[in-house]
C-alpha cells in the first residue's frame, strides 16, 4: 500500500515548522514518528498534500525536572519515556504506560506528542494526561499557550490544536508517592486497548478511560463518587456514566461498558482508592 503523493518539507527548527504549516494550507500535516499518520496514509484514510517533518527536532526530545512537575518534550519517543530514570521516579504511571504501547519497534519511533496530538480515543497516553491533569504547551505564529489536558480533546481525532500550532511540551504533576494503576485489556499483545483505565489517587482521584467514547475521556462519574466517599466497587458502577462507548469489530459498546466497570474496580483497588 502506497500513500498518495504529497510535498515533503523537513523543518530544522520549531519556528520553521510553524511557518511551513502556515504556508502549507488546510491539508498540511506535521509528521513526528509517523506511527499513527503513515498507516492512515497507506490506507488512504488520510491524504495530506504537504507533510512537515518535525522528526529531527531533537531539541523537542527531553525530560526536565520543573520542580512540582516533569516537562516532557513532544518529540520524546515512547522508548525514551519508558527508560527515563526521572520519569520512573517522579511519574511512574507515565513510564509504565509508555512501555505498554504497541511493541518495541513502535516504541522506537512513536512520540509522546504524536500520541496526544492525534487525539485517538484508543491511545493510552491521553488517558494518563487526563487522569494526572497534565498541561499541554502549544506553540503557534503568535506565541505559546497552555491548555489543560482536560480541555484538549474535543472530538474524534479532534483537539484544541489550531491548524498552524505545534504541541511542544507536556507537563505532568509529580506523583510524590501517590498510588496509581493502569489497566489495559487487549486480545493480542501488541494491540491497542479494547478498554483501558488510568487511575491515580493524589489527594483527590483522577480516573480516565481509553476507548470508551469518541475521544479520550475522564470517568467523571467515578471521580464524583469517590469524592463523595464511595468504595471502589460502588464508584466503578459509574464507569460509563454519560458515555456512549463505540461498537466495532473487537467489541460491542455493551461489552465495553461491562469491561469498564471491571477494569475501573481493579484500578481503584490497586491504587488504593
Amino acid at each position: 500500500m502506497i500513500p498518495s503523493s504529497f510535498e515533503y518539507r523537513r523543518a530544522s527548527s520549531l519556528a520553521e515548522a510553524i511557518t511551513m504549516l502556515g504556508e502549507g494550507g488546510d491539508d498540511a500535516k506535521l509528521l513526528a514518528g509517523g506511527h499513527s499518520l503513515l498507516p492512515l496514509m497507506k490506507l488512504r484514510l488520510a491524504s495530506p498534500t504537504v507533510l512537515v517533518d518535525i522528526g529531527r527536532l531533537r531539541e523537542l526530545s527531553y525530560v526536565r525536572d520543573g520542580g512540582d512537575h516533569l516537562a516532557v518534550g513532544a518529540l520524546t519517543r515512547h522508548a525514551d519515556v519508558h527508560n527515563s530514570d526521572v520519569v520512573g521516579r517522579e511519574v511512574p504511571l507515565l513510564a509504565h504506560v509508555a512501555g505498554q504501547i504497541g511493541d518495541p519497534q513502535v516504541r522506537h519511533r512513536g512520540t509522546i506528542g504524536g500520541s496526544i496530538a492525534h487525539g485517538d480515543p484508543a491511545s493510552d497516553l491521553p488517558a494518563v494526561c487526563l487522569a494526572l491533569r497534565a498541561t499541554l504547551l502549544l506553540a503557534g505564529p503568535s506565541g505559546e499557550r497552555q491548555v489543560p489536558a482536560i480541555e484538549f480533546f474535543t472530538g474524534f481525532l479532534e483537539t484544541a490544536l489550531a491548524r498552524d500550532e505545534v504541541l511542544t511540551e507536556i507537563r505532568f504533576p509529580k506523583l510524590g508517592g501517590a498510588r496509581w494503576s493502569f489497566q489495559k485489556f487487549n486480545v493480542r499483545a501488541q494491540d491497542w486497548a479494547i478498554v483501558g483505565v488510568a487511575a491515580v489517587r493524589n489527594g483527590s482521584a483522577g480516573v480516565a478511560l481509553v476507548n470508551m467514547a469518541d475521544r479520550p475521556v475522564l470517568a467523571t462519574g467515578v471521580e464524583a463518587a469517590l469524592a463523595a466517599g464511595a468504595s471502589p466497587e460502588e464508584a466503578a458502577a459509574h464507569a460509563s456514566d454519560g458515555l456512549e462507548p463505540p461498537s466495532d469489530v473487537r467489541a460491542s459498546g455493551e461489552y465495553r461498558r461491562h469491561l469498564a466497570t471491571v477494569l475501573v474496580r481493579r484500578a481503584l483497588e490497586e491504587a488504593g482508592a
Partner: protein, 160 residues
Amino acid sequence: MRVSLTVNGKLRESEVEPRLLLVHFLRDVLGLTGTNIGCDTSSCGACTVLIGGDSVKSCTMLAVQADGTEITTIEGLAGEALHPVQEAFRQNHGLQCGYCTPGMVMAAASLLAEQPHPSEEEVRAGLEGNLCRCTGYHNIVKSVLAAADMAPVPAPAVAS
C-alpha cells in the same frame, strides 16, 4: 528528493519520491530483498530493520525520514562469521518456512543490544512486534536465549 543513507556500512544515494516507503527503497531501489513485507499494516514485523541499532518496521517509515541514518538489514548483520542471533537460529532450528525470520533476527538483535541477558518472559515480550505464521515461537525464543548465552553480542555498527 535526494536521500543519502548508510546501508550495511555502504553509503547509498538516490533520488526518491517522498511517498516511497523505506521497505520499498531497500527492496526495489537497492535490491536488498532479505527484508520481507508481510502484512504491510505495521503489525507483523517481517520488515524489521535496524536504524542506529534500534529495531524499526520499515513499512511504517518513509525513505526520506531515513535520510542520513545508518541502517542495518539482514544482509548486513553477519561479519566474517554469522551474528550470534543468526548462529543460534541455525543451531536451534528457530525457523520453519523462514518468512518471518529476517524480521525476527533483527528484532532479536535489537532486543539483545538493549537487554543482553533477558529472561524467557522478556524475550517473548521483546518479540511481541513480530508474528510467525508457522507459529514456531518456541524455537525462536529458544534461539534468542541461546544467542544471549553466546554473548558478547556486538552492537550493530553505527558510525556516529
